[in-house]
Subunit: 232 residues, 2 copies
DNA sequence: CCTTCCAATATTGTCGACAATATATGGATA
DNA sequence: TATCCATATATTGTCGACAATATTGGAAGG
């Protein structure tokens, strides 16, 4: 491995957690592939100690599964898991939208409107729609989540769930939701939040996420993402 | 340490995770106390390797906090955290109740009614109210959660959140919710689920949990649980 | 008396080696 | 040829020791 790009972090274990997360999401470590501790340790130039600590963390993030005395595997995406994940996300982000309606500041609201305007401009100028949509989409959601000011909610969503969500989005990259429709929905959600209508904001956020889940589900059914078991 | 009660588990790390979780919830390891790796390792007769893996897990469970090159501390309970936790629980168990309304079998419904009848009998015979309520309360909630059939939801709730919830209940043991009121609410929730009224079930579950949170909050305000920083 | 700096100590982070378990190989038998 | 079992190999689990960092305690200076 020639990547000498040392990511500076306090501890090797944290480094590895970040790197491995990235590699799994990117697909460098294929879905369902076996993870060999000696091999990975050699590849990253570290001993197995910190590597194993990172693996424990990845397991709790739901990115790998571990079996005692057998080893770890990258998770395999499937529709049931996708739906479970998005249902959970629906509950949590719905709550986040409700809380945001109560707690968000006027300034944050203004910034969010500006953000959506930018997205609109991006779409109108028509360049790089995919990227703009993906990036903007996540940015919008993250801001709502943080506006909830609920530390537990923020942690579970941004740290645990979003890694999985990014994976599902990546592996269904071909058929993405219509960015203009998504933007309309974002606008409606933000309107509800700005008007301090918590019930409505929660409802709209839930529908928005539920709709995304359905699209991803269709994408998975078509693509039949059954490749990926390349790892011995 | 004279506890030779070897809990048989596949791996030392898993063993330690369970034991440490229990000790933290029980209060053997005081709130906010520093965790010394050498000391704990000696106490359990293991090396620091598996112990550290267990600590990584405990951190993700939210039972301890770790700082690089400094060490780990048992979490300290406070009202903000309590409210955050219960708000999250509200969102997730509310969703669980909704899903259960769609997915639960008639047999499971029957069993749940039987369970509530038993609780009623316990209360009427009036012995050991506290224990009966606590045990029965958690049992009821766990069954609803599992009836949701959502693996992600089940995992986060039963593994991540409930450890914290048990701690808050333990440290506010003095003033507990009225068991008869709780039972009435359980019955109403179950009725909604049995009638396949998902919206209502979710609403009632949320109120039920919100009410519990308020009671715990009051208890914390009165008791002012600021002791517990005994650990150097 | 308080503050600052430095050395001594203790704790955490990392490593390489050994033990325990699972997997792969290959031969014997039906 | 297929199946079963025993051996060999590889991988995971655990350990003790060393390196790096933080904490403690005391001396020097203001």
């Amino acid at each position: 491995m020639d990547k000498v790009t040392q990511i500076k972090s306090a501890t090797l274990s944290d480094d590895l957690t970040q790197r491995l997360t990235a590699e799994i999401v990117k697909g460098v470590l294929p879905l369902g592939s076996k993870i060999s501790e000696p091999e990975l340790a050699k590849r990253y130039g570290v001993s197995r100690g910190p590597l194993r600590e990172a693996l424990v963390k990845l397991e709790t993030l739901g990115l790998i599964t571990r079996t005692a005395n057998v080893g770890a595997r990258v998770i395999d995406l499937n529709i049931d898991d996708l739906l479970d994940t998005y249902t959970l996300r629906e509950a949590m982000e719905g709550m986040a939208a409700r809380l945001a309606s109560e707690l968000i500041s006027e300034q944050e609201v203004t910034e969010l409107y500006k953000l959506l305007d930018e997205h609109q401009a991006h779409l109108d100028s028509n360049h790089d729609e995919h990227y703009a949509n993906q990036y903007g989409n996540e940015d919008f959601h993250l801001r709502i989540i943080h506006a909830s000011q609920n530390k537990k909610l923020i942690r579970v969503l941004t740290q645990d769930l979003y890694a999985t969500i990014r994976m599902y989005r990546r592996y269904t990259a071909d058929s993405r939701p219509d960015p203009r429709q998504a933007l309309r929905e974002h606008k409606a959600i933000l309107d509800a939040i700005a008007n301090r209508e918590g019930d409505l904001a929660e409802l709209l956020m839930r529908r928005h996420i539920s709709r995304a889940a359905n699209l991803l589900k269709k994408a998975m059914l078509q693509n039949s993402i059954s490749q990926g078991n390349t790892g011995q």
